[in-house]
Amino acid sequence: MNVLHCQRSCTYISDLIKEGFEVPYVNASFFGIEQTAKALREVAEFFGSEEMKERAEQIIEHELEVISPAIEFYKERLTGKKVGMYVGGPRVWHWQRVMKELGMKVVFGMCTFAHEDDYEKINARAEDGVFLVDNPNEFEIEECLERFKPDLFLTGLKEKYLCRKFGVPTVNSHSYEKGPYACFRGMVNFARDIYEGVYAPAWKFVRDEDFI
């Protein structure tokens, strides 16, 4: 079987492999606790082995135990923060769940390469009132920052400096800041980088009335 993480670029080739060689595939996301656990369970389910299923449960239980204190620390501090997202395509819906796990609220989402199926998934996972923009330009990004005043914007390097100029922290969502973000342990890195973004002391100086 093939396990697909990037369901934008990999689906085409996986379909061909499935057709030509009868190798099936499962879609999986390795971001966040719930999705990583689901991916492990589905892979185990596919093979149908009780041993593998048991092993998957063991891994999930152990990993949760390892990361829980750190995740709790960050969740406590990030709950209620508003987040905007502009990533390639699938990452928006991959991360909607992750944000929820950190207690954060997604207020708008943007994609450059998303197709219809991506938007279907985003819509299915979105709460009411989430604003979506396809293939935004800089002006639309500025407008979203102004309108939704997010506490964090998940985006790449090119938009990082524009957003930070408006006093909005970003986390490099393509190649990350410090350490991988995938799977259980990577989630701690992700939460840490988000926390550092939201709580960097630089932001509190920006709005000092005397120097505006």
Partner: protein
């Protein structure tokens, strides 16, 4: 014959001795292999009982030097002023060596050249002879008389000696020669404090002796403390942007960082330094700013007491918050608005902080330095989201502890504070902790190497690198430079090569 090469191409002593001919390029250090035998086979942690400096009578690796040095630093910042050290020759040799190492500039300091007989008969004769030589040969405008441990111990009556010397020299050289020289006496017995206190006392004695009140001048007084020539230039730059006239007492920016241009005057005097008439006029200013509370605060307090002149004592304007305070006080004192250029400079520093917080946040830092600088660096580290873990000052200071605690409270940090401790104690804490970065002076370089924790150089003294004395750490632009140093050091040490490109 082939050259015997060993150890990555480097030559041992035997190889050197067996060379048939020395190449015209000579043999440089990097080509030589000098075998070093460690004193003990492995690192043996010291006995924990002797770690706290309070439990020892001996100081190990002191983070301070002697009180006269601070007074000499001050005097070197005055135009055509020569310090006259009432002590042994070593009391000027080491300070001159230190000045030269840090600034790579000539520094003239006179000495009474105490010997054994002086200790018995007192320093009167050497003092008068020395002053005579100095006046005849160097024509100084001010002579800063600085005592040391020995002259204080034997009880040299400097005020009495000076009176005698003036009488004697007036007769000998004529009143017009003597009228051209002013004398400032600063008592600096090292057993009562460090270089920090020496500078502090000089700030008070110069003002007590020279400052007068006549007509208001709408200027502000700035007593910078022992910061770099680059720092003082930055302060001047801020004053200029704010359209404020100021007098900087002990302006080393043009005495300890001078251009090489011919011809030079003989005897050599730098063209800069605070003018004696400007110090006189400091009694007429609107306000005094002592940027370092422990280095110069006494001068500001004197003016406050004597002329009812408002004084702002500290904090050193390093980083955002402290620079904000300085700028706001300047604006308040003079009624001038905060210049737009200043707001831009502030914005550029904040922009750099916003660009780089993912590198700095959460880094555990060990800080060591003079109290004012260590306290200022602690605050800046917090502003970058870093975690000051150990903060040490070589000179004891209540203000230092107060400032560091205030910062720690504000940012919810819990640093270990070593007040007036030596580097031996600081080093032990550093080695027991997990520290990412050191902010300290050149004296921390060995610890940095041994503990494999990178060092960002700041404070006094920096003698193992070039150019730090020309740079500013204060003000928003200084913060920018310090931020660059910190982030680049982190990139060098904490990030794999393939992760530094964004």
């Amino acid at each position: 014959m082939t050259t015997p090469l060993k150890l990555n191409g480097r030559l041992t002593i035997e190889d050197l001795n067996s060379l048939p001919e020395i190449p015209i390029e000579g043999i440089t250090y990097d080509q030589m292999y000098i075998e070093k035998q460690p004193i003990c086979p492995e690192y043996i942690p010291p006995d924990q009982d002797i770690i706290p400096s309070s439990k020892r009578t001996a100081v190990i690796d002191p983070g301070r030097i002697c009180m006269p040095f601070g007074a000499m630093w001050a005097a070197v910042g005055v135009h055509k002023c020569i310090p006259f050290v009432q002590g042994a020759q070593g009391c000027t040799t080491y300070p001159r060596y230190t000045f030269s190492r840090i600034f790579r500039e000539p520094v003239s300091i006179a000495t009474a050249s105490f010997h054994e007989d002086t200790a018995v008969f007192g320093g009167r004769k050497n003092f008068i002879d020395g002053l005579r030589n100095l006046i005849i040969r160097y024509h100084p405008e001010i002579i800063a008389i600085i005592t040391v441990c020995s002259s204080e111990i034997i009880g040299d009556d400097m005020e009495g000696f000076l009176e005698e010397a003036q009488e004697e020299l007036e007769e000998e050289l004529g009143p017009e020669v003597l009228d051209g020289v002013k004398f400032v006496i600063t008592h600096t017995p090292s057993f009562a404090g460090s270089h920090v206190e020496g500078y502090n006392r000089a700030a008070a004695t110069f003002l007590k002796t020279l400052a007068k009140r006549t007509t208001p001048n709408n200027k502000v007084n700035i007593i910078p403390g022992m910061i770099t020539p680059g720092d003082i230039r930055e302060i001047k730059h801020i004053l200029k942007l704010m359209d404020i006239e100021g007098t900087i007492l002990f302006d080393i920016s043009e005495t300890l960082d001078c251009p090489l241009r011919l011809p030079q005057p003989m005897p050599y005097y730098p063209k800069g330094g605070t003018r004696s008439e400007d110090i006189r006029d400091m009694g007429n200013s609107l306000m005094t700013f002592a940027l370092c509370p422990d280095q110069g605060g006494a001068g500001a307090k004197y003016l406050e007491k004597r002329f009812k002149m408002p004084a702002v004592i500290g904090p050193l304007p390093l980083g955002i918050h402290s620079t904000d305070l300085f700028i706001k006080s300047l604006a308040e004192a003079t009624g001038k608005p905060i210049a737009d250029e200043i707001k831009d400079e502030r914005g550029i520093l904040i922009d750099a902080m916003a660009d780089t917080f993912h590198y700095t946040m959460g880094m555990r830092v060990a800080i060591y330095g003079d109290p004012d600088i260590a306290a200022a660096a602690t605050r800046f580290c917090c502003e970058l989201g870093m975690e000051p873990a150990i903060v040490g000052s070589g000179t004891e200071s209540k203000q230092f502890v107060k400032d560091v605690w205030a910062t720690a409270y504000e940012y919810d940090r819990k640093p270990i504070i070593l007040n007036g401790s030596d580097m031996f104690e600081w080093e032990d804490y550093l080695k027991k902790d997990k520290i990412d970065l050191i902010l300290g002076n050149s004296k921390a370089a060995n610890v940095s190497k041994e503990a494999d924790v990178p060092l960002v150089r700041i404070g006094f003294p920096i003698y193992d690198r070039l150019g730090y004395q020309r740079r500013a750490y204060v003000g928003y632009r200084g913060g920018e430079y310090l931020l660059d140093l910190i982030v680049n050091t982190i990139l060098d040490s904490k990030f794999p090569d393939d992760r530094v490109q964004q």
